[in-house]
Assembly symmetry: C2
Homo-oligomer: 122 residues x 2
């Protein structure tokens, strides 16, 4: 489930598996409607690589769950290449009609991200 989201380069998996009111909080704190990622990624931003490094934490409740994962991504913005070797994505999931749907996401910057900061935390 989460592996698929981490590897979604076009936003199509997210659009198909998020709730209609799902927001994705960008590193700046500005929200983005998750269902609109397809348009976002299909415009100036082209993701060329996106990988799950590690699910750092996962906790599943009765009808809600949350996870925090380290991911990496390479993308071009208006043709200029960017490389984010690691960043953190927190997600919240809701069980709707027996299926887990993405309810909320929040992504960190890659600047200053240090994978060794997880040592002793999880």
């Amino acid at each position: 489930m989460i592996k698929s989201m981490a590897e979604d380069k076009t936003g199509e998996w997210i659009a198909a598996n998020c709730l209609p009111d799902c927001l994705f909080i960008r590193p700046s704190g500005n929200p983005f409607k998750a269902a609109e990622f397809v348009t976002f990624f299909g415009g100036d931003v082209e993701i060329t690589e996106k990988n799950l490094i590690k699910i750092q934490k996962l906790d599943v409740g009765a009808d809600m769950a949350y996870a925090t994962a380290s991911e990496s991504a390479k993308f071009t913005y208006k043709g200029t290449p960017n490389d984010d070797p690691s960043f953190t994505v927190s997600t919240v999931w809701k069980k709707v009609g027996g299926a887990w749907k993405l309810a909320h996401g929040h992504r960190s910057t890659a600047t200053g991200n240090d994978m060794s900061s997880w040592d002793g935390c999880v």
Copy 2:
């Protein structure tokens, strides 16, 4: 509940109301043990002002809940003043023994944060 957390300048409220394994993801994506905020805020960082601007979203499940809020903070780092007029904090809560406890937090940068980005999102 969330108002108290937003206004916690010392980390004491968070320490008293978080789960032992609660992590707080900093803007860089590096995690911090929430219970250790008391030490963090009592060291080089002194928060002089901290306010809740708005709870943008709140969804309460059977035993888990999540919220996203806009907050502001003024603090000094080794005596140098900083002003974060707005940023976004996503939190996950778990009901343990009848009480809601902080399970997870994720804070955005203040740089680039634009309150008008919420228009039409919530």
